[in-house]
């Protein structure tokens, strides 16, 4: 069994790394032809109007701030509202957008718990255990409930998954737009979390043995497990499937977010020219053709008729080889 688990873990890690590399390469290799940030704050224009440096960033630092807020605190999701209708009979009928932070909270709970749990797992793979990892684990087990002690993140991640599944099942619109893949992703996460919780709190796994095994894996010299444990096998298998699937499913958003043009571009397109590498020549109609068609009307109206060379051909495109129509 040790051999199978080791193989699964290596295969999953390789698939995950190669998959993300392939995925990110596919995106990054595709040009972003235009500068299209969504400006959620005041532009930088006149000196005495204070710009929104993060919501409408005009500098790289501002963009970094915007991306950090997005990646670490899910800024956009924090804006979430829910629509409610106020009947027209109301004295002040208006569209009401209720604060709806539950989705943001659920998403934060899920992602941050998973991050903490991931860091906690380092104590299996790194020797000696870094102080920060130990400290984080201690903090996570701060409530000192149960034996072995319950980690807060284990409870939070389970609750978050239940919430995220529950909202998809409960809300008719969400149920309508959910794809099988969305349930699969939740199921894969639930399998990893569920087997992990069972492994820690229900099965009597020999941690020393597991740690030796994990350290062997990390050193690329896998040592066999002394005692087989079905929960361990299930946990590792589930985690391997999840990790391997990350780059090939919607969970690739973890990498994709960083390349999202509406967030990662500065709102400076009038200040600095954004270059489109494939900017195609297009047929344009120049002043000359226009003048020739309307010559009589220009004359009657007393408008200037420009016969100089600069009036003849449209600048720009014509020089790049496009036909004047």
């Amino acid at each position: 069994m040790s051999l199978a688990l080791a193989a699964a873990i290596y295969a999953a890690a390789a698939l995950c790394l190669c998959g993300f590399a392939w995925r990110v390469w596919g995106w990054a290799d595709t040009p972003e032809p235009f500068r299209i940030p969504t400006t959620t704050g005041q532009q930088r224009s006149l000196d005495w109007i204070s710009p929104s440096r993060v919501e409408s960033p005009s500098t790289r630092l501002g963009v970094a701030g915007r991306m950090a807020l997005e990646a670490l605190l899910f800024r956009s999701l924090f804006r979430n509202t829910a629509h409610a209708s106020v009947p027209c009979a109301s004295p002040y009928p208006h569209p009401v957008f209720l604060e709806r932070k539950a989705l943001w909270l659920g998403a934060m709970a899920l992602h941050w718990s998973l991050a903490v749990i991931g860091v906690r797992h380092l104590r299996l793979f790194v020797d000696p255990v870094p102080g920060a990892v130990a400290a984080l684990s201690a903090l996570d087990g701060f409530f000192e409930i149960g034996m072995p002690r319950w980690y807060a993140t284990d409870a939070i991640v389970a609750a978050a998954l239940l919430y995220l599944l529950g909202r998809r099942l409960r809300d008719p619109l969400l149920r309508y737009l959910t794809l099988p893949a969305d349930y699969l992703a939740l199921a894969a996460l639930a399998a990893v979390v569920g087997t992990g919780i069972a492994l820690r709190y229900a099965s009597r796994v020999d941690l020393v043995d597991v740690r030796a095994f994990a350290l062997g894996l990390a050193a690329f010299a896998p040592a066999p497990l002394r005692a087989a444990n079905l929960w361990l096998a299930a946990h590792v298998a589930a985690a391997a499937v999840l990790v391997a699937a990350l780059p090939f499913t919607k969970m690739a958003h973890a990498a994709g977010l960083w390349l999202s043009a509406t967030r990662n571009q500065a709102n400076d397109s009038r200040r600095r020219r954004h270059v489109n590498p494939w900017n195609p020549p297009v047929p344009v109609r120049g002043y000359g053709a226009w003048r020739d068609e309307f010559r009589d009307k220009l004359a009657v109206a007393g408008l200037p008729i420009d016969e100089t060379p600069e009036g003849g051909a449209p600048p720009g495109q014509a020089r790049r080889g496009a036909a004047e129509t």
């Binding site: 006149l46 956009s76 804006r79 009928p93 999202s260 967030r263 954004h274």
Partner: protein, 538 residues
Amino acid sequence: MAQPKPDPARLAAVDYAPPRRAWRDLPVEFRKGTYNYAAPRKHAEALGLPHARDWQPHDADWKLPPDWKRIILEGMKARLDRYRSFRLFMDICVRCGACADKCHFYLGSGDPRNTPVIRAELLRSVYRRYFTAAGRAFGPLAGGRDLTEDVLKEWFYYFYQCTECRRCSVFCPYGIDTAEITMIGRELLGLVGCSIQWVVEPAANCYRTGNHLGIQPHGFKDSLEFAADELEELTGIRVDIPIDRKGAEVLLVVPSADYFGTPHYYTLLGYLMVLHEAGVDYTFSAFASEGGNFGLFASHDLMKRLNAKIYSEARRLRVKWILGGECGHMWRVVHQYMGTMNGPADFLEVPVSPATGTRFAHAASTKMIHVCEFTADLIAHGRLRLDRSRNDHWNVTFHDSCNPARGMGLYEEPRVILREVVTHFHEMAEDTIRERTLCCGSGAGLGTDENFEMRMRGGRPRAMAVQEVRARHGVNCVACICAIDKATLPPLMEYWVPGVEVAGVHELVGNALVMTGERPRATDLRGEPLHVAGGARA
């Protein structure tokens, strides 16, 4: 073409319960009032668009080219390779649903396919089926869907039920922008000759005559001279309106509705007064007589083709920089596309206000600034004498037009101006303005008579936000900086909130502006008497 207007009570009773059948195999019904007519052959041909033909969406046979499927899939492949945004947005959506009830068309119609997430899935399902391993292998199980004629019709229906307003992209945790998806979706439809009249016809006009309305040079000159006459009557001052004057410092580019539509026209009067008062040496161009760009609503190529004349005319007329009028999608193009597509504008100079000396460094590359930026700067320097009491008959709120808001970040400039030129000003609810502003429901080429019901549905959230400030504060005027708003908010207001008028920011500036040597004004720019008792409630 006028159809009987639908009963507001019916449109207000929106059923949000999703249909029983899954959207992926629910054929679209082209119901009168909820879709746009197809692009007539003559206009599509004038632009050289592919597969031009006469057809209508309600026809059973769309007369698609025999190899339409290959054309679409090849077009998709090409765009996946050229637009990172498109490829990424196809890949990373998790269907969290945060965008769902942010779309005004969903709020107004209750149709789940009008949620941004499913609108994108319309394309994404086809992307999965033909461009991902899982989709090719497992088909529907992996969220894939065959490209059929029904799917194409569904695309047409729903990509022309999106105004590219980008409100959903504000809320998406990954910044997925449905405008990008709709733009690509419309491009693909265009490849097989499926576009709408109200996009292609104005674009064809614009290509030929220089403006969407198809106004020829003599008509252009007449309307501007008429404006000068009118201003003289109002103020006693004759303003000079130069056209095609070489060597002027500034080229003024405005949406054509400004000189041919109402209430746009009063905004034009406002610009002319400000430019005269600030002593700007400017010229119009009779060829670049349109700042708007309906190409944006058809394809990136068409956008570029229509936009090209702005720089080429600036070069021909040897101006130093460009000033742009109040127009929403024009500014999306100018701010986010123009420099990239038709630049570099290295033959122009960084805009400097002749009245204040302010150097507009934020436009150092494109050399084009917004008239609200220009006027806000004048006001900040005390260069305009303003009598805001001349707007006291207006109780004003400000509608952030989608494009200058979420595609530019122009939030403060118009507000700075409004605070100086009106006495009674009330913002709408926080979650309906600024980056969360709600669309008029008629942008991106959807402002047609035949699409009236869908426009009223889509605009209802905005109308209700206006209704609230009307009830609370007595607001009777929605100020905005978008030509499409000025054309489509009035019928929207008339339908949902009667008694509310629509005005451009520069119309209100024009009312308040005390011009040097003007005679006392008896009326506002609309010719309505000033100082009507009880005209406004504070």
